[in-house]
């Protein structure tokens, strides 16, 4: 598979503080990559660069022109009805049919005609996913999109993302700090530390993945030790 994303010698500094350090990154077409790391390790900066929102960089990045993103907050425009938010920025007249198809895919077609303020957190995040996917991206960037959701909703939306990825076949870069989420969804997990990709792990487990499978537990332990989290008691990170 050819690469969807290629970054070579990527650097970014904010006021003299280096956040990304000569970073190399390849993401194959259709590959699901999770990016783990402590807060402040530069993972969100990397995502913003790939999104084209930050151009003050050193090095070189090649990304597909058709790419879109979903963020931790849904970032819907409160003054546009849900369906108008979904097709915002698409060329031509706003196409309600297209928006409803995308909303149907994320399971909330019935909310097309309401204001965003009436949505629950999980619903708003689904709309944000529909808005990203209606553009048929070759690369989908997800910046902790489940971070603000409660545990039950998070599980359902993670499941939804897995299904949408398999249907659309786009490459996904998921930024997260949740080790289990990364292992449940990704083909490959990257661990970032101090502006570099410090570790890389290919996840060869069959889908859908089982949290309790011994292989899963082994991989989780390895990722946690890379992240500097050691387990002293069963299930209790110290």
């Amino acid at each position: 598979m050819p690469n969807s994303v290629e970054a070579r010698g990527l650097s970014r500094a904010f006021d003299g503080t280096t956040v990304l350090h000569e970073l190399d990154l390849d993401i194959r077409q259709g590959e699901f990559v999770a990016l783990l790391g402590h807060s402040g390790c530069g993972k969100s900066t990397l995502l913003r660069i790939l999104a084209g929102l930050d151009e003050e960089i050193g090095g070189e990045v090649t990304v597909p022109a058709r790419r879109s993103a979903a963020f931790q907050a849904p970032r819907l425009l409160p003054w546009l009805k849900v369906w108008r938010n979904v097709v915002l920025g698409l060329p031509g007249r706003p196409d309600r049919g297209l928006a409803e198809k995308a909303l149907d895919e994320v399971g909330i077609a019935d909310r097309a005609g309401v204001w965003p303020k009436t949505l629950s957190g999980g619903q708003a995040q689904r709309v944000s996913l529909a808005r990203a996917l209606v553009r048929e991206p070759e690369l989908l960037l997800l910046d902790e999109p489940f971070g603000a959701l409660d545990a039950l909703t998070r599980g359902r939306v993670q499941q939804l993302v897995a299904e949408l990825w398999q249907r659309h076949g786009c490459a996904i870069l998921l930024v997260t700090h949740d080790v289990e989420e990364a292992l449940l969804l990704a083909d490959r997990v990257l661990v970032m530390d101090e502006g570099r990709i410090a570790h890389e792990l290919t996840v060869d487990l069959p889908r859908p993945r089982d949290l309790t499978a011994p292989e899963f537990v082994t991989l989780r332990a390895r990722l946690l030790s890379w992240l500097g989290v050691h387990r002293t008691l069963e299930g209790t990170p110290s």
């Binding site: 999104a51 879109s68 970032r75 003054w79 546009l80 915002l88 698409l90 808005r131 553009r135």
Partner: protein, 287 residues
């Protein structure tokens, strides 16, 4: 009843129950009589007018100080029948409208330039801050020197009074646009014009509407000041004429008309706000 079996003392080691609160449903307050909101809202003003009437009728308030509300109403009917009042309202309304339109256009252009462009901000905003420090009513003598005593200085004063509140509120609204929304919209492929139309201007709208309310009330206020300058038509003319003959009833009538016109504008903006801002989830006040 007594038993020898050991009694389990359940009171030990258990915290005393704290005070409890009962929440009663409010959906069916059926038997309780509640005064409709509209009645409650008008009770204050109606009461004050009633007090005024009583004070005049009993002679506590002599007519040379303040005419009774009955006289004011009589004047209103008379002047309306003679056509003087409608003509005055039309003349004043025209001044307010023209002045407002000029001021609003200036404020809108300046605030867009200052809000959207860094260069515009540097050139315009500091100047506006400086000009605002000048009390605009104090410019009347200068306006007379520049524009004479005809319609122009009156319209200019209204325009000036309108410009500041609109400018600062629209500019502030543009600059308080959520950067995260701008980023998301850019990510979704909106260009510069799209961003302005779909993100920046809508998020400046609530501020702009607040500015509009201030601007309209300032417009009427400016008009009252402006019409003191040698007016030959309008409510100010009617008032300065009445002053010469100590007709407090006509003066009060003109003040009431000014107030009603201001209220009507405010009401229109509130209706407009409700229409335009339905997307906002706002606190609506306690019942």
């Amino acid at each position: 009843m007594t038993t020898n079996a050991p009694v389990l003392d359940t009171t030990v080691d258990r915290p005393a129950p704290s005070a409890r609160v009962t929440v009663r449903g409010t959906t069916k307050a059926g038997h309780r009589f509640t005064v409709p909101r509209s009645v409650r809202r008008s009770a204050g003003p109606v009461g004050l007018v009633l007090l005024w009437f009583l004070a005049s009728a009993t002679g506590v308030l002599p007519e040379s100080v303040l005419a009774s509300p009955v006289d004011v109403v009589r004047q209103a009917v008379e002047l309306t029948r003679s056509g003087e009042l409608p003509d005055a309202i039309a003349a004043s309304g025209r001044r307010a409208a023209v002045g407002f339109l000029i001021g609003a256009s200036v404020a809108l252009s300046l605030s867009l330039l200052a809000g959207l462009f860094r260069l515009g901000e540097d050139v315009i905003d500091s100047s506006m801050g400086m000009f605002r420090a000048i009390p605009w009513v104090g410019l009347i003598p200068l306006f007379i020197v520049w524009f004479g005593i005809e319609e122009t200085p009156k319209i200019a004063l209204v325009a000036l009074g309108v410009t500041y509140p609109l400018y600062f509120n629209i500019y502030g609204g543009i600059r308080s646009t959520d950067a995260q929304l701008v980023e998301a919209a850019r990510m979704m492929g909106l260009g510069r014009l799209g961003l302005i139309a779909y993100v920046i201007l809508p998020s400046a709208l609530p501020g702009a509407l607040v500015g509009l309310r201030y601007a309209l009330s300032t417009a009427w206020l400016a008009l009252v000041f402006a019409e003191q300058i040698n007016a030959d038509a309008g409510l100010g003319y009617l008032m300065s004429n009445a002053q010469q003959y100590f007709r407090t009833d006509v003066i009060v009538l003109c003040l009431v008309v000014y107030a009603l016109l201001g209220l009507a504008c405010d009401f229109a903006v509130r209706i407009l706000s409700r229409r335009l801002l339905t997307w906002r989830a706002n606190f609506e006040g306690e019942a």
